[in-house]
């Protein structure tokens, strides 16, 4: 368990570095900088209950009792540091043409044409508490889509520069993967690269799909190109078996559950990584926190409200408020000073803090370029003759078809990654529970009358064996490039219970993204056809109710879900006139203010963003260390031991 101090105690000292947020980014930076001997304070807005085993078990029970097992369902609401929830959105029945088809309640205010259907979590450990743990790298071309394909924004650094940091991040996260295969895919540059852990075994569904369509040539009707299907395994941050070929200096040690020794050292197939891995075999920032050096201090329930400016190009620290009762926050305000301020509070929260502090926004880009991976679902039943596929087993997905992610097709439409889902129709339809309801015929017809049709007893059991047992789902994650119109703003009229302004989100999908979604859906349909599976996908409104994320593109009904991949809101670039941070994630305008996290990413490609974000964070930690060391030269680095002596 990590040592935590109170808000009061935290403010009594001065620090070298104050970090806002104890998610992946903040935890990685704190560990690296603390290890170098710097005095680091981490201010975390949320509660810290999950870092003890009883606290974690409570979270597990909350998940099990939830009707809607959405990502945030395992974590208790917190009015002092509210989190957005996918349950905040509701569709509008019979929407008027041209009007939004949804309403948004909860933490976000949404005023765009389409919903931003992505959440995050404000609790110790951050959003990663309910992440899936997919850690694919981005490929070279993903960093320069403007130059190569004429859309989006280029990064000021490229894949080559990030290779060692990727490897470092894979070590820190504890990634399991197939190095050679990722090299063949072109995302790993070193042909002999090995992941710290052996690949997570692929699912039977992966094998089923591979046997059915490997090598098939599929025409993408939007890109007007042919693509050959090749299945690739997915690198994942969950425990498998240590890789004997991984470098031994220093050796890689598997880390399991926090708060319970010798637990979670291997994934056992709970199949609930989102929202919670009951054994913590899925990698969590809590692991890094548990190993923080003494030079790192963590204070929970400290909601940072503003960054304080001290000079033309410098900031002096942050203001924060603490609370005791998450339900009815009555708060006290504090100020803490540090030589360096690092915002690591999540893309949207970082933007919110910069906007409210009125800092670093000379470019006018703070809050803009909000991205996600709009995800189009497609679902089908495999052929009865081929037998059950084994849904709802293992990690959320273990393989995918990658060929639509790269190449010239990107000029015509956004690229997409096809994730082969291991959890049946769960995401699309609420299966398997909804299968029970519809097979029984429960809930009434459109007039509310008891339905005639339904099956029971042995016939029900047999039917579900097939109707659930053969469920296939493809999750089509489409790249969304930086688009300044997609943005976070603040509006003093909308505040949370503590009085902090809530994020106002304006969100839409560009033509290029919509073309990508359309292509992805058509490709998925064709894959199902070749597999001999019955495609039940239907994104059209039902009884006047459009599904969330519904839009009609070129005559086709489509719908997307959020992927949880908020990015772009403090975008990176070399030109201060058009970007917020530089390649080190330092704000262009201040010498000691950094904004780290997915918010810095200039593009997200079709890779889940956290690995790239962590590579950047580790690189920034090095730069922050260098800048502090230079400023303090001649420097006496305080080691953890000397810290202890003076404390």
């Amino acid at each position: 368990m990590t040592e935590h101090v109170t808000a009061d105690a935290a403010a009594r000292r001065r620090y070298d570095i104050v970090i806002v947020g104890a998610g992946w980014a903040g935890s990685a930076l704190a560990q690296r900088l603390g290890d170098k001997g710097w005095q680091v304070l981490v201010l975390e807005a949320g509660n810290g209950d999950t870092d003890t085993w009883p606290g974690f078990l409570d979270t597990l029970s909350t998940f099990r009792s939830a009707v809607a097992k959405v990502p945030n369902s395992a974590y208790r609401p917190n009015a002092a540091a509210p989190s957005p929830n996918v349950l905040d959105l509701a569709p509008v029945r019979n929407p008027r043409p041209g009007e939004p088809e949804f309403t948004a309640g909860g933490y976000f205010v949404q005023n765009g044409p389409l919903p931003y259907g992505t959440d995050y979590l404000r609790a110790l450990g951050g959003t990663a508490m309910h992440w899936l743990g997919a850690v694919p790298r981005m490929r070279d071309e993903d960093f320069e889509t403007r130059t190569r394909y004429g859309y989006g924004r280029d990064w000021p650094i490229g894949a080559a520069e990030l290779q060692p940091w990727y490897a470092e991040a894979e070590r820190l996260l504890g990634a399991a993967g197939h190095g050679q295969e990722q090299y063949d895919l072109g995302v790993v540059h070193d042909s002999r690269y090995e992941y710290p852990m052996q690949e997570i075994p692929r699912s039977y569904i992966d094998r089923y799909c591979k046997e059915a369509v490997e090598g098939e040539v599929i025409t993408d009707p939007v890109a007007e190109r042919d693509y050959t299907l090749t299945l690739y395994g997915l690198p994942q941050a969950r425990n498998s078996t240590p890789n004997p070929r991984y470098r031994t200096d220093p050796p890689f040690r598997v880390r399991g559950a926090v708060g319970l020794p010798n637990f979670g050292e291997r994934c056992v197939g709970n199949a609930s990584c989102v929202p919670i891995c009951p054994v913590q075999a899925k990698s969590l920032p809590l692991r890094i926190q548990a190993a923080f050096p003494r030079s790192v201090t963590v204070a929970n329930r400290c909601v940072v409200t503003r960054v304080r400016r001290s000079g033309e190009r410098s900031v002096s620290g942050v203001e924060y408020r603490t609370y005791t009762d998450p339900a009815s926050p009555v708060s006290r305000s504090y100020v803490v000073e540090a030589d360096v301020v690092v915002l690591a509070a999540h893309a949207i929260e970082n933007a919110r803090l910069l906007l409210f502090s009125e800092l670093a926004n000379g470019s006018g880009q703070v809050g803009r370029n909000l991205m996600d991976h709009p995800t189009v679902l497609s679902w089908a039943l495999g052929a009865e003759s081929k037998g059950p596929v084994g849904p709802f087993r293992g990690p959320g997905h273990t393989s995918g078809w990658e060929v639509f992610r790269f190449g010239e097709g990107r000029r015509r439409r956004a690229p997409f990654r096809i994730e082969i889902g291991n959890w049946g129709w769960g995401w699309a339809t609420g299966a398997p529970m909804s299968n029970v309801a519809t097979a029984l015929g429960i809930g009434g017809d459109e007039h509310g009358e008891v339905r005639p049709d339904g099956v029971f007893g042995p016939e029900l059991r047999r039917l579900l064996g097939s109707s659930v047992g053969r469920q296939l789902q493809l999750q089509l994650a489409v790249e969304q490039p930086a688009d300044p119109g997609n943005r976070v703003t603040l509006d003093g009229r909308h505040r949370d219970a503590m009085g902090n302004p809530r994020p106002v989100i304006t969100y839409d999908l560009s033509e290029h993204v919509r073309d990508g979604a359309l292509a992805a859906r058509a490709v998925a349909g064709e894959i199902f056809r070749r597999m001999g599976a019955d495609d039940f996908t239907n994104h059209a409104p039902r009884d006047g109710v459009p599904p969330l994320g519904h839009f009609v593109h070129k005559g086709t009904d489509l719908a997307y879900s959020g992927a949880g991949h908020g990015a772009g809101t403090h975008i990176m670039g070399s030109d201060p006139a058009t970007s917020v941070v530089d390649a080190d994630q330092k704000t262009h305008e201040f010498d000691n203010l950094y904004a780290v996290g997915c918010g810095s990413m200039a593009s997200v490609g079709t890779s889940n963003p956290t690995l790239t974000m962590m590579a950047l964070a580790l690189r920034s930690a090095e730069r922050i260390h260098d800048s502090l060391a230079t400023a303090r030269r001649p420097v006496v680095i305080r080691t953890p031991d000397t810290t202890e002596a003076t404390a």
Partner: protein, 211 residues
């Protein structure tokens, strides 16, 4: 079988839940949820109305009948009971049945208890395990699952009569050709509880995804 430790009420409940659920008394007792489910059903339906329903169901079974012998409101209660055993949650009922039962509770789905979710029988119909519990072990997801047992085999194993366990359908549903209205369709959002998800549409009837 009957669990000697269970009350007579619970023994009776389990016995007649066997044909309703398609699981053996042994399986039902093993969930350790029988008493909680009987309580839940009584509370949700109202003790007297539940008794009336229960008597009707027992009469149907002992008279060699099945669910098709139940009046519409009782049919809906029977469905709710099966849903409870299969998922650990009490579902939303057809509004007509809700009104007919003069229920005082809100007509919304809820999970009876965290353990109830874990003991849901639905997972066993496809050789699965509840998401987030009873993990089968490293790598098990790579193994080909066995085919589901056929209805004849299930009937024999349960010792239930050779009657139709279906309503409103002429013949047993062929797994080769499952009608769309017995499958779930797209949820308009994650807020829709599983028992309120609309039924699926027949593949290909809506111009969609074909470009």
């Amino acid at each position: 079988m009957a669990d000697p430790a269970a009350t007579a009420d619970v023994q009776d409940f389990v016995k007649f839940c066997v044909p309703l659920t398609g699981f053996t008394a042994f399986d039902l007792y093993a969930t350790d949820m029988a008493g909680a489910y009987l309580d839940t059903a009584r509370r949700q339906v109202g003790p007297e109305r539940f008794d009336t329903f229960w008597t009707a169901w027992k009469q149907a079974v002992t008279g060699g009948g099945g669910p098709q012998d139940l009046a519409p409101t009782h049919r809906e209660v029977a469905r709710a009971l099966v849903y409870l055993w299969y998922t650990g949650a009490w579902p939303r009922l057809a509004p007509a049945a809700h009104a007919d039962l003069r229920r005082e509770q809100a007509n919304t789905e809820f999970v009876v208890a965290p353990e109830a979710y874990v003991e849901g029988l639905v997972w066993r119909t496809f050789h699965g395990h509840p998401s987030g519990a009873k993990p089968p072990g490293f790598g098990t997801w790579g193994v080909r699952p066995p085919a589901p047992p056929e209805v004849e085999e299930l009937r024999a194993g349960l010792g239930v009569r050779d009657v139709a366990y279906r309503t409103g359908l002429d013949a047993e549903v062929s797994p080769e050709d499952i009608p769309a209205h017995l499958l779930p369709g797209f949820r308009s959002g994650r807020h829709v509880p599983p028992s309120e998800v609309p039924v699926a549409t027949v593949p290909g009837t809506i111009e969609e995804g074909r470009v």
